[in-house]
């Protein structure tokens, strides 16, 4: 395939993969995404590697349709081993020597040998009856018993199945089975124009509409070499912070609620509602949909800076009330600890990583907007529920401070709509807000220059670093979209943090992680 996008890409032989990956890991690179592709002549695997600041690199390996096998990387990289299980399910590429090659995406009733991302996958294969029986490792011993939970949980949350092996009250081991809300998102993108796929990107994970849409359009712009002006970039960064604000405030309330301190929860929900209404005024949608397009970002009005400042002041007050409560602090402290070493080995992202002292934040590591000299990723070191609470509380304050700055930067570009009237004392720049090109209609998409192309988008969404990688066919339609929500990296850390935690603390630890099922399951 012709490679036009700026990420350096190296094709290597399957036999050299292990050595190459070990070398990259030694040089401080992080595996961010692995995408399978079913090309006419071979199966192709693309790995995206990232390194601060702003460095990207891709590794490509091909295997034949007849003998689709790759040496496993699970021994050097835990996330690589998880991507391999995904590749096995969706593309039928076997990871040789994988210590645990069980199904991940396809549940037990999915047909053997049916790999839905293959071109020749039957459209409507026969599924077995879903008996909901999962083989789980049984922990034996005196007084050990199992608690199965889900897929439908007691609260207002998404579906997943958890199996606890417990002695007394203490969790010995917990296993999670996810992919209950696997919808086949990635293949739904295929064949659409980027413009027509925005509605999908906005619905990968409802609470991360901005994060996913932004990573997606960045990937498309990367592929098509569409330049985005600084005002548009600022407007997008602003939307990303507004998404962080409404999600963080509800987590702060919910964590207090999970230890029985309900009043901050009520007030956090009140504050979230005012933020959701502000979102609606700004973008026409409470979940900030509809604002971001390829080359564009549009707002319907200026952000209400005094509202954001007053909500931020109230969040400071709620956090002080919560952490100042000795019972709350007792429940938060040393609960669900994830030591930095384990956080690094598993590859967790976002506030979970930062609460374990791992400073990883795409806003600093892979910046796409100017957040100013004062912006620094927020970390804590105690690695427990308290740290995950504190990181969120401090990030709320930091995001609230970014809002006026980004509003100022974005203001030079108006609201990003061509129909916007220039306000008094402010004139609209001459740039077309849609990236300097006439807007292509659905029937006539932007065509890649010089054949098929690929691009990558990296965004610090509220849960952590989120990547999309797209490939565009010659006619400008999407031929492949790979999505990696930070939840894919962070979910496996929860069972680790739960070891030796008591069962009644599970909801609290789970809330402190608050990973996305929809984003993970795709």
């Amino acid at each position: 395939m012709t490679r036009l996008h700026p990420t350096p890409s190296h094709e290597i032989a399957a036999a050299d993969l292990h050595g190459a990956v070990a070398e990259l890991l030694g040089e401080g690179w992080r595996l961010a995404l692995v995408a399978g592709h079913d090309d006419p002549d071979a199966l192709r695997v693309v790995q995206l590697w990232l390194r601060p600041v702003g460095e990207r690199r891709e590794i490509v390996v091909r295997v034949s349709h007849e003998d689709p096998r790759l040496p496993t990387l699970a021994d050097v990289s835990f996330p690589a081993g998880r991507f391999e299980r995904e590749l096995l399910d969706l593309f039928g590429i076997h990871p040789e020597g994988h210590p645990m090659p069980q199904r991940l995406v396809r549940h037990a009733h999915w047909p053997n040998g049916w790999h839905p991302m293959r071109r020749d996958a039957a459209a409507d294969p026969v599924f077995d009856d879903d008996l909901g029986s999962f083989p789980f490792l049984q922990v034996a011993g005196d007084g050990v018993y199992e608690i199965p939970v889900g897929p439908i949980h007691a609260g207002l949350i998404e579906p997943g199945h958890f199996r606890f092996s417990v002695v007394g009250e203490t969790i010995l081991r917990m296993k999670a089975r996810l992919w209950f809300v696997h919808r086949g998102m990635e293949r739904l993108f295929q064949g659409r124009t980027p413009e027509a796929a925005i509605e999908l990107a906005e619905r990968v994970s409802g609470d991360t509409a901005v994060g996913h849409t932004l990573a997606f359009v960045q990937a498309v712009e990367d592929a098509l070499a569409v330049k985005v002006d600084p005002e548009t970039a600022a407007r997008r960064a602003l939307l990303l912070e507004l998404e962080r604000l409404y999600n963080h405030v509800s987590d702060l309330g919910a964590m207090a609620n999970d230890v029985g301190f309900g009043i901050p929860h009520i007030h956090a929900q009140r504050l979230r509602e005012s933020l959701l209404r502000h979102n609606a005024a700004l973008t026409g949608h409470r979940l900030l949909r509809g604002a971001i397009g390829v080359g564009t970002a549009r707002l319907q009005c200026e952000p209400d800076l005094s509202l954001i400042a007053s909500v931020a002041a109230e969040v400071v007050e709620l956090a002080a009330l919560t952490l100042g409560h000795s019972v709350v602090l007792d429940r938060f402290t040393r609960t669900g600890a994830l030591p930095a070493e384990q956080a690094r080995a598993i590859g967790v992202l976002g506030y979970v990583a930062r609460a374990s002292g791992v400073s990883i934040d795409a806003r600093a590591d892979h910046p796409s907007a100017d957040l100013g000299p004062d912006f620094v990723p927020i970390t804590e070191t105690s690695a427990d529920v308290r740290a995950r609470y504190a990181v969120r509380a401090r990030e709320f304050a930091s995001s609230a401070l970014l809002v006026p700055r980004l509003t100022r930067l974005a203001a030079a570009g108006g609201l990003g709509r061509s129909e916007t009237q220039p306000g008094p004392g402010r004139s609209l720049p001459e740039v077309d807000p849609r990236g300097g090109e006439a807007r292509p209609t659905a029937a006539e998409p932007r065509r890649p220059v010089g054949g098929p192309c690929a691009g990558v988008g990296v965004v610090e969404a509220w849960r952590g670093t989120l990547c999309h990688r797209v490939e565009l066919a010659e006619d400008g339609t999407l031929s492949r979209v790979k999505i990696v929500d930070p939840s894919f990296f962070s979910w496996p850390a929860m069972p680790v943090a739960l070891a030796d935690t008591i069962v009644p603390d599970f909801p609290l630890v789970n809330k402190s992680f608050n990973q996305s099922y929809a984003g993970n399951d795709l």
Binding site: H107, H109, W110, P116, A121, A123, F127, D129, D130, L131, G132, P151, I152, A154, G155, L156, I157, E158, P159, W179, F180, V181, H182, R183, G184, M185, R187, L188, E199, L200, R203, V204, S205, G206, D207, A209, S250, I263, I266, H267, Q269, R270, R272, E273, L276, R286, L287, E317, A320, L321, G324, H325, S326, V328, S516, Y517, A518
Partner: protein
């Protein structure tokens, strides 16, 4: 924690719940679903599709939520509907932890291959009389995911649906309005 500060916060904020919007179902016509339909052709955004008499549960209903393939956007708005501002509980609707305690199932999302069976079993576990409310465009059968290889139809293909709340996601007000058609309050 300083209790004085907590009291200060509560006092300063005052009442959080917004004033209750007027009921769209008048109590006179609310008694039977035929009158219901006649009286609400234009005003009521929630359509009663199965024709079940919804008044059977009037007064107080226990609600269980089932996500069978949502993007989690609908969950945000259901959460808001039961939160302090919209306060669904004042109309007699309360979230419960098990389908065995529930009168109403609020179902979101398209039905994925991996959730079809749990959905059916959850509905079976809910005692009768029960009301199934499909919340959101996905649950209503107009999902952006409909063509996905891991999707197995929509909610109505698997269980009987009594009320539909359209929207992507529906607003908390719309969700409350549908619940009030069941609680009659």
């Amino acid at each position: 924690m300083n209790p004085v500060e907590l009291w200060g916060l509560i006092r300063r904020t005052g009442r959080i719940a917004q004033p209750a919007p007027a009921r769209t179902t008048s109590p006179d016509t609310a008694g039977d679903s035929a009158g219901d339909k006649a009286g609400n052709t234009t005003k009521d955004p929630a359509a009663d599709s199965a024709g079940q008499d919804l008044s059977v549960l009037a007064g107080s209903v226990q609600v269980r939520h089932v996500d069978c393939g949502s993007c989690n956007g609908c969950e945000i708005e259901i959460g808001a509907a039961f939160g302090p501002v919209y306060d669904a509980e004042r109309y007699g609707a309360r979230l419960v932890a098990s389908p065995r305690h529930a009168d109403v199932l609020v179902v979101t999302g398209v039905v994925t291959r991996n959730m079809a069976r749990p959905l059916v079993r959850t509905v079976e576990a809910t005692p009768r009389p029960r009301v199934v409310v499909a919340v959101g465009d996905c649950a209503a059968g107009h999902s952006v995911y409909a063509a996905g290889y891991a999707v197995d139809g929509s909610v109505a293909d698997h269980v009987e649906v009594d009320l539909v709340v359209p929207g992507c996601p529906p607003s908390p007000d719309q969700i409350i309005e549908a619940l009030r058609r069941v609680t009659r309050r």
